[in-house]
Each structure stands twice: as structure tokens, then as C-alpha cells.
């Protein structure tokens, strides 16, 4: 039996999962988009790796695998928008946050549970199908060992929490800014580039590359992808997971601090 608190958050995650199952057409369209983008980027990478073999330490098969993992995780990690933060921003803007705040629940854990429920749904729908299509159409470097897949899932979970924690900070800024459009745009741009969605972060040289690989966005996509590609093993795998866990800790704590400030100065919108 799970303790009461856990059961609440599991129920929240399950109900969010179920909410997303209601929108089948949107899900199908999303799967289609991920597949189409997968092909486009795959051919672009093939051209690039043909010119520069071993770019970023990836062989051709690894580069193509990276493409399809990016597409598979794009929705789950909300790399191109989506997720809870627009809903939370809207609730802050309209004052409906008042309802959330009159519940006996921790706001951060509540939204984390929501977002993880959504992430699991997106991993199963918009993750599995594009990756399977990619694996059929191209030769990918996917691991055989179930343990590697398990390590990948753990790393993906940590990545999803980092992604949540970042977007939670963005969403909470609405308490001060009222209009989240600007921050969302900046965050979208940073996420797209620094997660590795455009190009693997391993291809960037020098201090810029070093820095990019240490930023929290790297923990969202680059790290799980490298875990699946088998680029971290032994103590290296431990370090990769610790790197993610470190950002989880830092960003969730920052979110808590911001939440405290926000609720202390709450000016709930609307009468």
C-alpha cells in the first residue's frame, strides 16, 4: 500500500494521462509530425556526417539514432512547447490559481505529477511510434541489453523532471509578469538549442561546447540520448545520472523558493 501522499500524486498523474488520451486526433497529428521531422532531420544529418564523419564523436548510425531519439523525446520533454506551463500561466492570469491554492496540496508536486503523467503518455504515443518507424527505415545504433534501456528510462525520467523544473520557473514568472509570452519564447529558443534538439551538443567545440554541455537543458535530451547510445558506462553512467539529479535538486529548490515568494505576495487576479 502506498502512503496517502503518494497515492494522491499517482492519482493526479494517472488522471492527467487520461486527460491526454481524450485528444486522439491531436496525438495522431503529433505522431505524424514527429515522423516527418525525423525524416527531414535524418537526411540533413546524413549529408552533414557524410562531409564530416565522426562529427562530435558520433558515427553515422549514432547520429541517426540521435535524430530519432530527439523526435521520440520531443513531446515527452516538451522541447517544442506543450506541457503544463501554459495551463498554469493561464490559471495565474485569470486568477483560477486561487482554487489551486485553497486545496490541501503542494503546488509544485501537484504540477510535477500532472506533467509526469503527460510525459508518460507522450513517451508511449509520440515516443514509441516515431522511434519504431526510424528503426525500420534506417540502421540505428540501439542497444541490445535491457539494462541499457532501463538506464535510458531512468535518465529520461530525470530529464523529464529537469524539463518540468525549468518550465515551472518560467510559469511562476507569470505571478510577476502577467503575460508569459515573452519568457515562453526565450525559454523555447534556449530549450531547442541547448537541449541538443537542433544538433547534438557534442559537436560544439571549445569553451562554448563545454558550457553548453553543463547547462540544465543538456540534462533534458543530450544526457538520456547519450545514455541510450552507450556513451556513458560504468562510473561514467553514474556521473551522467548524478549530473541530472544535481540539476533536479537545484531547479526544484529554486522553484520552491520562487513558489514561496509568489504565494506570499499573491495578488490573485480578478475579483
Amino acid at each position: 500500500m502506498l502512503p496517502g501522499v503518494m497515492r494522491l500524486y499517482v492519482a493526479v498523474a494517472v488522471s492527467t494521462f487520461r486527460r491526454y488520451t481524450a485528444y486522439r486526433a491531436a496525438t495522431a497529428a503529433g505522431v505524424f509530425t514527429n515522423i516527418v521531422f525525423g525524416f527531414i532531420v535524418a537526411y540533413a544529418y546524413m549529408a552533414l556526417w557524410h562531409e564530416r564523419p565522426n562529427l562530435g564523436g558520433y558515427g553515422r548510425e549514432q547520429a541517426l539514432t540521435f535524430v530519432w531519439i530527439s523526435q521520440a523525446l520531443a513531446a515527452a520533454m516538451a522541447l517544442l512547447g506543450g506541457g503544463f506551463q501554459e495551463e498554469l500561466q493561464e490559471r495565474i492570469r485569470t486568477g483560477e490559481i486561487a482554487i489551486d491554492l485553497s486545496r490541501p496540496v503542494d503546488m509544485q508536486l501537484w504540477w510535477l505529477a500532472c506533467d509526469l503523467g503527460r510525459a508518460v503518455f507522450h513517451l508511449l504515443s509520440r515516443g514509441v511510434v516515431p522511434l519504431a518507424v526510424g528503426a525500420l527505415a534506417f540502421r540505428l545504433a540501439l542497444p541490445q541489453s535491457p539494462l541499457m534501456w532501463l538506464a535510458f528510462l531512468l535518465s529520461a525520467l530525470l530529464g523529464a523532471v529537469v524539463s518540468f523544473a525549468l518550465r515551472y520557473l518560467v510559469a511562476l514568472s507569470s505571478f510577476w509578469l502577467l503575460d508569459g509570452a515573452g519568457v515562453n519564447m526565450v525559454n523555447g529558443l534556449l530549450t531547442m538549442f541547448f537541449s541538443g534538439m537542433l544538433l547534438p551538443l557534442t559537436v560544439f567545440p571549445g569553451a562554448f561546447g563545454e558550457t553548453a554541455r553543463l547547462l540544465p537543458w543538456a540534462a533534458v535530451l543530450q544526457t538520456p540520448a547519450d545514455v541510450l547510445l552507450g556513451r556513458h558506462h560504468g562510473s561514467g553512467l553514474g556521473r551522467a545520472l548524478l549530473f541530472q539529479a544535481g540539476w533536479v535538486l537545484v531547479l526544484l529548490s529554486a522553484g520552491r523558493a520562487m513558489q514561496l515568494r509568489a504565494t506570499q505576495r499573491t495578488v490573485v487576479q480578478g475579483g
Binding site: V12, S15, I99, L101, S102, P104, V105, V268, G271
Partner: protein, 334 residues
């Protein structure tokens, strides 16, 4: 079980369903642009020194014009807003300090907002509420069955909230607010936009809950009929101050408010004269008769029907705004 009518102790209503406010204030600072870079700060006293006590099991109406400070008060009572000054206790708890602990003792219904989940069927929303408040299974099912029966929700349980009509949604919200047996229920405009049948259903249900569980109810509304049928006591707030605290009849007397009897006759008649009423307007065969709000309309209706060929009639209750405006005309502001 909660203690009924427990008195004594430091706060009078320690750990039960009472509400206490002492000189409570809420001041908002607004920054306004007055030039390209210049900002001026302006203080708005949304709640300006309010004191009142609501005993456990009391049903109290809390009314006032738009922007009077009603919602701000409710937000302070739920702990969402911290007061700028004064002392506030709900069920013995300081709301802003212990918002989450307080949440287990209160239920909140907003007529214009929903606490339910838009995409989920009512049933799933209630399951989430059960987990939220950790209601034991037996109590949950007992409370839910009762709400479903009295609020007529049976056929709606598998409907997503977004597909419910306003009246259905509000009934669903009221049920959600009561599943954890709150000692205190705040209702913010619960009947706004409801049709007559839904209003009657909601009011009847609230009366039952209050009678059975001794639930304390604080109700804000624009519909004086809500107050008339539910509350013996009404508090009026305006410009952040409590300007009246007493019975509804007393308010009508003070405000010299009038109900309007709208009468359709068979043909055009000269303005009718009936004891206890005066004709304020005529339009063809239709006439408007004003009756003091604290008097019964029955003798007037009987007198009109006895002497004139009547086709139809209806009664319009005075608006909160009218009553308060009229009250001001008589009451020197302090």
C-alpha cells in the same frame, strides 16, 4: 465529529466551525504609469478594518456592490491572501499561516469558476478530490451518494465537466466542496446565472446540509432571494467597511427598499389604487406597483385580483445595489 456550539477557550471557536475577524485590513499597492518612466504608487484599501464573528452552524449572507471587498475577504478567509493588518481566525486557524491545514476544514464554491477538472468526467474529479482530502472510502461514498441524490447528479457522473451546463456544473462543484465534510463552506455567487429550478435545488440542498451537519455557511450573492431563504443574518460591506450587520428585514427597513409587482390587466386601466402599494408606472394594460420589501405581497395581490380583471402578475425582488444605495440615502456614513 465536530463540536457543536463549543464556547470558551482562548479564541471562542477554537478548532471548530467559527469565523472571527478583528480589525482586518487588506491594502494593495498599485503602481501606475504617469509618464514615460515615471510610476506613481497608489494604495487601495480593499478591506478597511472589518470585525465580525460567525458562530459555528450559522448561515450568513455577505453582500455588497462590485469591488466592495467581498472576494478579498473570502480570499483572506481561505488563506490565499494575507491580511495587511488585524487578526483572523477560521476554525481556530490563522489562514495565511496554515493554508494547507485550513483547507481540510473548509469548502469553497465559486459560481463563476470551477474547482473541477475540465476534461475529466465528474466521477474522476470526485476521485481526485477524495485523494486530495484523504477521505476514508466509506465516508466518501456516503457523502457522494447523498450529494448525487440531492443534487440530481446521477445521470451526469460520466460526463466530462466541459460538457455540463452551468447549472449542472455548479451543482457538481457544490458536491466536490462537501465530500470532505468541511466545517465551513464559503459560497461565492453560487447561484449566478442559474435558472429558477437549479436555484431552488441548490438552496434546498444547502439548507439540508446546514441542518444536518451544522455546517457554517458564508454566502456572497447578488440575489437577495438566496439570502432571504437561507440566512437569518446578513452583513453588508462597502468600500471595504462593514456598513450593516443584522437581519434582512432590518436591511429592507433601513434601505426603504421596495419589491415591484408587475401586473397585466385584461385592458388598459387608470392607475389602480390598492392599500399597501403605490402604482409607479403604467404601460398599456401593464402596471408596476411598489410594495415595501418587508411587507407581504399577498394582501396586495388579493386586493388587485378582487377588484380588477387580472391576466398575469410577477414579483421582482429589490437588487442588492438598490437596497444599499437607498440605505446610504438614510444612513450618515461613518
Amino acid at each position: 465529529m465536530r463540536n457543536k456550539q463549543h464556547h470558551g477557550g482562548r479564541g471562542r471557536f477554537e478548532n471548530n466551525g467559527g469565523i472571527e475577524l478583528e480589525d482586518v485590513e487588506k491594502v494593495f499597492t498599485l503602481r501606475r504609469r504617469t509618464g514615460v518612466l515615471r510610476r506613481s504608487r497608489e494604495e487601495v484599501r480593499a478591506v478597511d478594518g472589518i470585525s465580525f464573528t460567525v458562530a459555528p452552524g450559522e448561515m450568513v449572507g455577505y453582500i455588497g456592490p462590485n469591488g466592495a471587498g467581498k472576494s478579498t475577504t473570502i480570499k483572506m478567509l481561505t488563506g490565499i491572501l494575507a491580511p495587511s493588518g488585524g487578526r483572523l481566525r477560521v476554525a481556530g486557524i490563522d489562514p495565511a499561516r496554515e493554508r494547507i491545514r485550513l483547507a481540510h476544514h473548509i469548502g469553497v464554491v465559486y459560481g463563476q469558476r470551477t474547482t473541477l477538472w475540465w476534461d475529466l468526467p465528474l466521477r474522476d474529479s470526485y476521485t481526485l478530490v477524495r485523494r486530495l482530502y484523504r477521505v476514508p472510502a466509506r465516508r466518501f461514498h456516503r457523502n457522494l451518494d447523498r450529494c448525487v441524490e440531492l443534487l440530481d447528479l446521477g445521470a451526469l457522473m460520466d460526463t466530462p465537466v466541459r460538457q455540463l451546463s452551468l447549472g449542472q456544473r455548479v451543482r457538481g462543484d457544490i458536491a466536490a466542496a462537501l465530500l470532505h465534510d468541511p466545517a465551513i463552506l464559503y459560497l461565492d455567487e453560487p447561484t449566478i446565472g442559474l435558472d429558477a429550478v437549479s436555484k431552488v435545488k441548490v438552496r434546498g440542498f444547502l439548507q439540508d446540509i446546514n441542518a444536518e451537519h451544522n455546517t457554517t455557511v458564508l454566502l456572497t450573492t447578488h440575489d437577495l432571494t438566496d439570502i432571504e431563504q437561507l440566512c437569518r443574518r446578513v452583513m453588508v460591506i462597502d468600500h471595504g467597511r462593514l456598513v450593516y450587520d443584522g437581519t434582512l428585514d432590518g436591511l429592507h427597513t433601513l434601505g426603504e427598499s421596495e419589491r415591484t409587482l408587475i401586473v397585466d390587466f385584461e385592458r388598459v386601466l387608470p392607475p389602480v389604487t390598492v392599500p399597501g402599494a403605490r402604482t409607479v408606472k403604467t404601460d398599456g394594460p401593464r402596471q408596476w406597483l411598489a410594495i415595501p420589501a418587508d411587507a407581504s405581497a399577498a394582501p396586495v395581490v388579493a386586493a388587485v385580483a378582487a377588484h380588477h380583471p387580472l391576466v398575469d402578475l410577477s414579483i421582482r425582488e429589490p437588487d442588492v445595489e438598490d437596497v444599499i444605495a437607498a440605505m446610504y440615502a438614510r444612513l450618515p456614513r461613518g
